[in-house]
Amino acid sequence: MQQRTRIYLTGVGGQGSLTATTLLARAALGQGIEVTAGEIHGMAQRGGVVESFILLGGWKSPKLGLGEADLFLGFEPLETLRGLPYLKKGGVVVSSTEALPPVAVSLGVAEYPELDKVRTAAESVAARAFFLPSKTLGLQAGAVQSGNFALLGAACAVGVAPVSVDGLKAAVRAFLKPKLVDINLKAIDLGVAAVNNQ
């Protein structure tokens, strides 16, 4: 029987978190891991919250419930904080530190939570929580969109899910357009390094 892992991913419409979800699921399948994934994306284009799920190792459901995520990927810190109840006690968080403020915050009528608050909340449930400037790492690799791959690299490096960094890289080579491969491989390495340095 395969190791069973549930992964919760949350981000903001337009960030590309669903593309990242699909690639991670393909990486798992490429390693012979049973995979089911799901997403709610009705409003994905319009700046709403986008949640997705990857369940590895023989789960049948395409979603997970509160307190069930072994691994938590936050593509945006506010959404990390909002989605935290999905994390299993003792699970692992990998989150971006870089904010995409909602309209109400941009217009000064609502307040964006301090990053420290996000960190403290995550650390209160998680066994380990890793925060990295994924967008900046993406830019460092060559494209802002590659930030998601830095986050994926970090997620594979923390050792919770059976998907390996090599498996992720194999999926990047197999499924991305050739001109995007090198940039994203570099972004993955930067994400892995960010985790190893924490």
């Binding site: 049948k60 395409p62 909602p102 309209v103």
Partner: protein
């Protein structure tokens, strides 16, 4: 190279979206004809067929609405084509009329109707349970729960439909349409040969004498379908013990995971129902008789539950049946935890939900919003300036329903696709109030036209604003009869909305560009001063569609040249998501700004400049 869904060989394994798997399954079932009206969560099925159509050996069309789609598909199936018709659950309401008759006269080529239901109302106005349509029409229903089953059941549904010469309902839910999983391909034989009706009017024209006879035939075919259900590999029993669970739809997946988590795997008897109508009653009767308690898992309505209760009564089976109630709600979606709790309660096992982190309250929300530069915002702004809170706004279904949000507040009531014109007419007649209806271009062709015919015929007093953004924006930019057909990958004809409106007998028609605020307000002022049926067509391509498909770019972006009370007022009344506020005051995010220049027209504090990058 052709897409794997078309070219993939038997035995290949691919990670597919549930909706993509349905496409492959229909192809393996020999589909030759596909029609649809898009709607979440069904849209990726027709969109994939459309995308692949240049290489495909099937006919595909987007029809203007679900009734037409099912009639076109019904005609194709009568001509003998293996046919798939797709829609979201509420679309089946629109298509219910042809559906009921197709069930009577049959569809010899084989016709599968995909109904994509939406428990939880993720993107719909209700969560109606369309399994009921299978029972109402008297046709078989199959319900997949995994990507592999989406593929295999789409194939089997088509083969069954052809064998019975009767429509089959393939019923999915949002979770199933939008899951991803590994799918192993089977053979793809190419389109099934035509198996048409010939000239047999006393069989296929349901005049009362024929219809009376066909009602009996519907019931006989259902008997044959019940035999298929009894023997179906989609209806599977497993496990042991004196507690049973009968599960259908996505609840089967939740049950499998709940049993694995609670350690009850193998310790309860499970009846997995994939072929859910007609039920395999002989096998279910034996199952009921073999357990002390049975839990029935089905989202939404207690259909299987009630049939099992009736079955137990008929056969005098003493079994406790646990269905809808406190633990198993009739609203919304089920979860693994809901299922685990209910099954543990029935089995007398303890269940504790996992510990969770407390939710952080009062976080800023991210409500879906009209995009920066959306032409609907410009139109709504002008309408509010002219009509304010004095008019009632009859909304319709599309992105523009988001106009409900403040500060635009451009929606007071809404029924369904196309209702803005007709419900607006009735509201105005009964109340004597000014009513402005909003309808998108795709929705206008869907079912706004008949409302407009009625408004002209009955001389209603209503302003209709057609928000023509040149595409079906909400569901992913599908074509409709009004689009620029040069963008499509096969020959089509284009209908002009203004000509249609005038052709229907409306003679008070204005056509404006909503990005031109002054001209739009002038047209609305004139419409406000007039009486009777008035149509204002506001035409401007959807900003996403313009960027992605039409490859339009705006070299300039707006910026705030001067702060102050007027600037604040515009920020608050237009509420464009490109606006922001920082320590220097208000500004316009250049990356988010589409360059629509609506704000620039309102006050001199906003100005345009060349983009920096």
């Amino acid at each position: 190279m052709a897409h794997p869904l078309l070219a993939g060989a038997a035995g290949e394994r691919h990670l597919l979206l549930g909706n993509e798997a349905i496409v492959r399954g229909a192809l393996e079932g020999g589909v030759g004809f596909v029609s649809c009206y898009p709607g979440t969560p069904s849209s990726e099925v027709p969109d994939t067929f459309y995308r692949l159509s240049p290489d495909g050996d099937y006919y595909f069309e987007y029809s203007p609405n679900e009734k037409v789609a099912l009639e076109v598909g019904g005609g194709a199936a009568l001509a003998g084509a293996a046919t798939l018709v797709t829609m979201k659950h509420v679309g089946v309401n629109v298509a219910a009329d042809p559906l009921m008759t197709l069930a009577y006269i049959g569809a010899p080529g084989g016709l599968v109707l995909l109904s994509a239901d939406d428990p939880g109302c993720h993107s719909s106005q209700n969560e109606q349970d369309n399994r009921i349509y299978g029972r109402l029409a008297g046709i078989p229903v199959l319900e997949p729960a995994t990507a592999q089953e989406c593929k295999d059941m789409a194939r089997d549904a088509l083969l069954l439909a052809r064998r019975l010469a009767q429509p089959v309902l393939l019923r999915t839910t949002t979770r199933v349409n939008h899951l991803r999983g590994a799918v192993e391909f089977g053979e793809r034989p190419g389109p099934a040969p035509l198996a048409g009706i010939g000239k047999t009017p006393m069989r296929y024209v349901p005049i009362p004498a024929v219809a009376r006879q066909r009602h009996g035939a519907v019931l006989s075919i259902l008997d044959a379908a019940r035999e298929a259900s009894e023997a179906s590999p989609w209806n599977v029993e497993s496990g042991a013990g004196d507690v049973g669970v009968v599960a259908s739809g996505i609840s089967r997946a939740y049950l499998a995971d709940a049993l694995a988590e609670t350690g009850l795997e193998g310790k309860v008897r499970v009846f997995d129902l994939g072929f859910t109508h007609p039920l395999p009653i002989e096998r279910l009767a034996a199952f009921l008789a073999s357990v002390r308690t049975v839990v029935v898992l089905e989202e939404l309505e207690p259909l299987v539950e009630k049939e099992l209760r009736a079955l137990a009564q008929e056969r005098s089976i003493a079994v406790r049946i646990v269905g809808k109630g406190e633990l198993l709600p009739r609203t919304g979606e089920y979860t693994v935890q809901i299922v685990a709790r209910a099954v543990c309660a029935a089995a007398g096992a303890d269940y504790a939900a996992p510990e969770t982190a407390p939710a952080t309250g009062n976080l800023p929300m991210r409500p879906p919003n009209l995009c920066a530069g959306c032409s609907h915002r410009a139109a709504y702004y002008a309408v509010r300036q002219v009509f304010g809170d004095d008019a009632y706004y009859s909304s319709d279904i599309g992105c523009y329903t988001l106009g409900i949000l403040p500060p635009l507040k451009a929606a007071d009531f809404l029924l369904c696709m196309g209702s803005s014109v007709s419900a607006g007419s009735g509201f105005a007649r009964a109340s004597g109030q000014t009513v402005v209806g909003f309808i998108g271009d795709s929705t206008f062709f869907h079912s706004g036209i008949t409302g407009l015919v009625n408004a002209v015929f009955n001389n209603h007093d209503v302003v209709v604003m057609v928000l023509d953004n040149r595409t079906t924006a909400m569901t992913g930019h599908q074509p409709h009869p009004g689009v620029d057909v040069s963008l499509m990958n096969s020959p089509h004809a284009q209908l002009d909305i203004e000509s249609v409106v005038r052709g229907l007998g409306v003679n008070q028609v204005w056509k404006v560009k909503p990005y031109n605020v002054k001209a739009t307000m002038k047209a609305l002022e004139e419409a406000k001063a007039a009486k009777g049926v008035r149509v204002v067509i506001a035409e401007e391509p959807c900003v996403l569609f313009a960027r992605r498909t039409l490859k339009k770019s705006a070299p300039q972006a707006a910026y705030v040249a001067e702060q102050g009370e007027d600037t604040r007022r515009v920020v608050e009344t237009l509420a464009c998501p490109a606006f922001f506020k920082d320590e220097n005051g208000y500004g316009v995010d250049e990356n988010a700004c589409s360059g629509c220049m609506v704000c620039v027209q309102l006050i001199k504090n906003f100005k345009a400049r060349k983009r920096s990058a």
